[in-house]
């Protein structure tokens, strides 16, 4: 899997992973991509002095793994998503990582990351279909709605006899919203087993740690009591662990239960001063901080 070597100019490269070229992931490339995505995140939020680096950084490995290794995707973007795996981002505030990985997976030019949160951009603060950005199938930002939408898409896949899987990501703080539990209850009761919901289990939300704001307690126990199959990824910022975990989750679909992945991550991962705190949930680095952050993540695949 050496897609970037084959295409130029950088940022115009479209790499569609419908057919897997090798069965073994090219970990060097993927690790490079992780670092490059971190740079993209920092540079996006820095430029407009707004956006959410913390959660984005913590989910970098997840997005890289999902889009590059796990999902069976068609070439090009098709809103209908027939005959391919789908992904829904419920915690829409981590749009910087979503946009970076979408762009670097070929959905739109990487240069467009330059327009993040600017007026008239397709790269809205929170992802939306409204501006026609390829790769996005529903708006998010108001928390708590994405699992319902993903379950709905999974129901349609079943109606269409489409064996593909629906993936979704949500925040741990986000799980305080009751609508999630409606969707969680529904999916189990109706054996929606073609869905994998990953929780970004970083223990942080805006006002502090979940433990200080509103602890989720035994989250695994909650999902299990609601009838889901629960897997954990203990090292959600280790690319190989994430790939393994998601492959395992994919393998757990089709068994009569929806699948939940509790992915333990570190908010702000990869930028030392952003790690292990809620402080960077929704704050952009200043010039100096950007430099430090970028220095910790030197260019790999090329900046946009």
């Amino acid at each position: 899997m050496l897609p970037f070597l084959l295409c130029a100019p950088l940022g115009k490269c479209y790499f569609w992973q419908h057919i897997k070229y090798t069965s073994m992931p090219d970990m060097n490339y993927l690790n490079d991509l992780v670092v490059q995505v971190r740079r993209d995140i920092l540079r996006q939020v820095h430029k407009v002095n707004s956006g959410h680096p913390g959660g984005s950084l913590g989910c970098t490995e997840f997005f890289v793994a999902l889009f590059q290794e796990i999902m069976d995707r068609k070439e090009g973007f098709h809103m209908d998503g027939k005959d391919e795996d789908l992904f829904f981002l419920s915690n829409g505030h981590i749009s910087p990582v979503f946009y970076s990985v979408l762009a670097r997976s070929g959905y739109f030019p990487v240069e467009e990351l330059n327009t993040f949160r600017l007026i008239n951009s397709r790269l809205q603060g929170h992802p939306t279909t409204h501006e026609g950005l390829p790769g996005v199938r529903v708006a998010s930002g108001s928390l708590g709605q994405g699992i319902s939408v993903a379950v709905g898409a999974a129901l349609t896949k079943k109606l269409n006899n489409d064996p593909h899987v629906v993936y979704a990501l949500c925040g741990d703080g986000e799980l305080q919203e009751g609508q999630n539990w409606e969707a969680i209850m529904y999916a189990a009761a109706n054996k929606v087993d073609n869905i994998v919901v990953t929780v970004d289990y970083n223990g942080q939300q805006i006002d502090g740690s979940l433990d200080n704001v509103l602890p989720l307690g035994n989250l695994k126990g909650k999902f299990e009591a609601f009838g889901w199959d629960v897997l954990e990824i203990k090292e959600g910022n280790q690319l190989d662990a994430v790939i393994d975990g998601l492959n395992q989750a994919k393998g757990s679909t089709g068994k009569g239960k929806p699948v939940c992945v509790l992915m333990h991550t570190v908010m702000g991962n990869g930028v030392d001063f952003m790690m292990h705190t809620h402080a960077w949930h929704g704050k952009a680095p200043n010039d100096e901080q950007l430099e430090i952050g970028l220095a910790q993540n030197p260019v790999t695949l090329g900046d946009y």
């Binding site: 319902s148 896949k157 109606l159």
Partner: protein, 320 residues
């Protein structure tokens, strides 16, 4: 005056049910979701005919809206069914983000709107849903007047791409529009031609407007009666040209006078042609328990009220 004949009282929700049943046969993409009110919404027949396309979501309306949004991905046309309150106020943000802003092809079908819901009382009698839904960019808002029109509208919205709010009601009311009408979204229907006052009515108030027009006619007053089944997009031309002709307007709706059809009409007129207007609507109160007829009378939502408002509107012509 045209004569309109009640061919036998029927509930508008049964018009929806009949339309949905037909769609079940004709359009394989139509799916239906219900939040534990299948019988009330008259969705039983669709459910019986197409169990695989019927989704019982339990008492979880927020989830229902999200499911519906998601089901559009892959080509389904979801029709959601619950009471009007739980179709709108309960799930406003879900509709806003996952459906309206996301351009999803969901049909939000809402029964038991307004005070004619009757004995259940105020918690169930939403009088704000037209206002709620009309404020959402891209939403089509329809409030039908009888069984036949509701059935026709149900068929029509399946053909329209985009989110739709379809509002109908619980009680049996006169069924007087054509059985085989085609329903044109956004096109007001002129029911009576008149010169003295314009009556713009929607939903259950349309029949009352016709009765009022007859009473006015007996008093030598000719009323222009418009059935404005689509509140959004609003047929502004129909409103403006009738108001130009008659010089005064009465709006009639089973809704709070704040935020609903009446204010939309006032805005159209203020922007184009300021005209005296009277509002037949609830006066910023909650409803209560009672029979539909009692409540329509108590809250000033019947032919009587429309007659009085018309006389007042006429008297205001010229002096603002």
């Amino acid at each position: 005056m045209k004569k309109y004949i009640d061919t036998g009282k029927k509930d508008t929700r049964s018009g929806f049910g009949a339309g949905l049943t037909e769609l079940g046969k004709t359009n394989p993409d139509v799916v239906a979701l219900c939040a534990d009110l299948t019988g009330s919404l008259k969705m039983d027949e669709f459910k019986a005919n197409h169990p695989e396309r019927f989704f019982q979501v339990g008492i979880a309306e927020a989830n229902m809206m999200g499911l519906a949004a998601g089901m559009t991905i892959g080509g389904k046309i979801p029709f959601t069914g619950t009471f009007a309150n739980f179709s709108t106020g309960r799930v406003y943000d879900q509709i806003r983000q996952s459906i309206a802003y996301s351009h999803k092809n969901v049909k939000i079908c809402a029964s038991h709107a307004g005070v004619t819901l009757g004995e259940d009382g105020a918690t169930h009698q939403i009088l704000e849903d037209i206002g709620l839904m009309k404020m959402l960019p891209g939403m089509t808002v329809i409030n039908t007047c009888d069984f036949n029109q509701t059935k026709a509208a149900t068929l029509a919205i399946a053909e329209h791409h985009g989110p739709v709010y379809l509002r109908f009601g619980r009680p049996k009311v006169a069924n007087f529009t054509d059985e085989n009408q085609t329903f044109e979204i956004g096109k007001a229907v002129s029911l009576q031609d008149g010169n003295d006052v314009t009556i713009i009515a929607t939903g259950h108030l349309v029949w009352e407007a016709l009765q009022a027009a007859e009473t006015l006619n007996e008093q030598g007053i000719s009323a222009d009666v418009i059935n404005i089944h689509t509140i959004k997009p609003l047929d502004q031309n129909a409103i403006i040209s009738s108001a130009a002709k008659t010089g005064c307007v009465v709006t009639a709706e089973e809704h709070n006078y704040l935020g609903g059809l009446g204010e939309s009409v006032a805005r159209v007129l203020a922007e184009n042609q300021p005209t005296p207007q009277e509002f037949v609507a609830t006066q910023d109160t909650f409803g209560e328990s009672g029979t539909p007829d009692q409540l329509m009378a108590k809250y000033g939502l019947n032919a009587d009220a429309i007659v009085k408002a018309s006389l007042k509107a006429i008297s205001r012509k010229g002096n603002g």
